[in-house]
Amino acid sequence: MALNWKALAPHRPLDPGEPGYISPPSGYAERLARLLATGASTILVGGPVGVGKSTELARLAALLQGSRVACLVQLDRRENIRQLTPDQLLLRVAGKLVALAIGSLGLQVSPSLAAPLMKAGVLSEKFSSGVESGPISFTASPVALVRAAIGEISRRSTQGRIALLLDGLEKLPQSPQSYEVLASLGQFDDAVDIVAVVPWFVAFGVAEDSLPPGSRFIPLPAPAVDGPAGAAGQQFLFDILAGRLGLPSESFDPAAITGTLGGAERAPLVNAVTERRNLLLAAAKWSGGLPRTFLQLMADAAQYAQIRRGDEWPDERDLADAVADQKDSFRRMLLPGDSAALQRYDGTDGREMELDRKIRLLARGVLLERQLATGYLMDIHPLVRPLLGDGTGA
């Protein structure tokens, strides 16, 4: 069977309940589920691009289904986030909540709630069958509508409590309008759990006054993929790749080749699998533990192999060129002063680094926060490290 490298789709997160989910070594979604179960009510999710925030949020939605009405609102699939207003956010949440109640939970909702949401374009007419008959004339502000939706659906559902999982807000620019959007998270009823992916600037106290009291910012870390602590992270990336290619997870493990094969037949197979594993190990280390970067490297290397030789599997040269492509992307992203700053704060906790620069570099994964027993350390991404000169350059 030919490998379908297009299936890697590095830019596509998994949807709730979609097969192929691999839990990261941090067990992030399970951790958030435990926090909600023990009383946390507003959790803010952060992390570098491509670390898997959207996939973890979708996983959390699946984990919460039994105990809550878990409503995943993928705002960035419907709205231009930089133009998002608080009212649009509230209406989108209300529309998605009602759609979930009718489409997935099989509940009926009142026409007075559904009609204004349909009129606002945030609830499709296809959900009309789940709307009770009766008077429909009702006009209300977005905040009143979302509260009405929360009240009605929590009362009619068997779970009772609602969890709103808001994806896409990490794309908010740093602006007064964005602070208003973040402040609208405090407009929901106290009986609602909120988990929202937010921009990095939130992690450093910017917009703190806008956020609901008691909010907790919990970053999703990129797993370690190097050194003795890196084995779990490597296997995590291998399993994602195997899953997207439709291969068994042991496909890259030479020790898994057993059975009745004799030594002469077994040796070439072991060699071939060992070569593939070594290539994947190299890609994993270059990725810094970011799943999207790992998949991009492998997809890019596979394209080189296909175009150059018609080969199904890339070799070292193909991966080297994919690495060079990624380095070019990182190089174009570095601004004057970045090299010196990166070298200066590498291996520190980064507290002295200029805030705007730190936020920009953390958001892109140029700097990765590594959690150690003693605290957090700034680690330069492996694709960036070779680009740095003597500290006086870029």
Binding site: K6, A9, P10, H11, R12, P13, V49, G50, S54, Q74, D76, R77, R78, N80, I81, R82, Q83, G168, E170, K171, P173, R292, T293, Q296, L297, A299, D300, Q303, Y304, Q306, I307, R308, G310, D321, A322, A324, D325, Q326, D328, S329, F330, R332, M333, L334, L335, R360, A363, R364, G365
Partner: protein
């Protein structure tokens, strides 16, 4: 060594429905590169030109050649709307043409981490890659293709060679090395 044609062909083909950035040294060469990409893609990609992110997103099954009139705004819009390309899922990429050292690249670096990440490793600068030993590359082409670039391009342009991915890639490479 990354050959410009291979790098560009790989970038166009890597992600079904992804984002490819083609970096252009100047506006005149941007027009040329747009035509080159149009001539390289399989007819099934049904490429079309647009200046608008919204228009590009409205056609998920066609390759959108996004030629901004305002690079910074287009990059900001791509950053904010990126996930609209997932629902419905695109089957063809968006190809964004940006000037080297222009406002688009600066905005990618300063304001648009999502768009940058989407295209990471898929942003090619064919002219920069083509700064190479032309004589050696022409000799390598001739050795591999059995004819110098100009001679190989004659049957290609006459439609006498199969429109395979290998030949599309070779055509781009030949055009890069072609001498008047």
């Amino acid at each position: 060594m990354r050959e410009p044609g291979v790098a560009l062909a790989g970038a166009l083909a890597r992600d079904e429905g992804g984002l490819t950035i083609v970096t252009c040294p100047d506006l005149d060469l941007r027009d040329w590169l747009v035509k080159e990409v149009e001539s390289l893609v399989p007819t099934g990609a049904a490429p079309f030109r647009t200046t608008s992110v919204a228009e590009a997103l409205r056609e998920p099954n066609r390759m959108a050649l996004l030629i901004p009139s305002d690079e910074a705004e287009v990059v900001r819009d791509l950053d904010a709307c990126r996930d609209q390309a997932l629902d419905p899922p695109r089957t063809q990429p968006i190809v964004l043409f940006l000037l080297r050292h222009g406002d688009g690249h600066r905005t990618l670096a300063t304001e648009a981490p999502s768009a940058w990440s989407w295209a990471s490793g898929n942003d090619v600068d064919p002219e920069e890659l083509a700064e190479l030993d032309v004589d050696a590359e022409r000799a390598a082409f001739t050795d591999e293709a059995g004819a110098p670039p100009e001679d190989w391009l004659v049957p290609w342009r006459a439609g006498q060679l199969p429109r395979s991915q290998e030949n599309y890639t070779r055509a781009f490479w030949a055009m890069t090395l072609e001498q008047p």
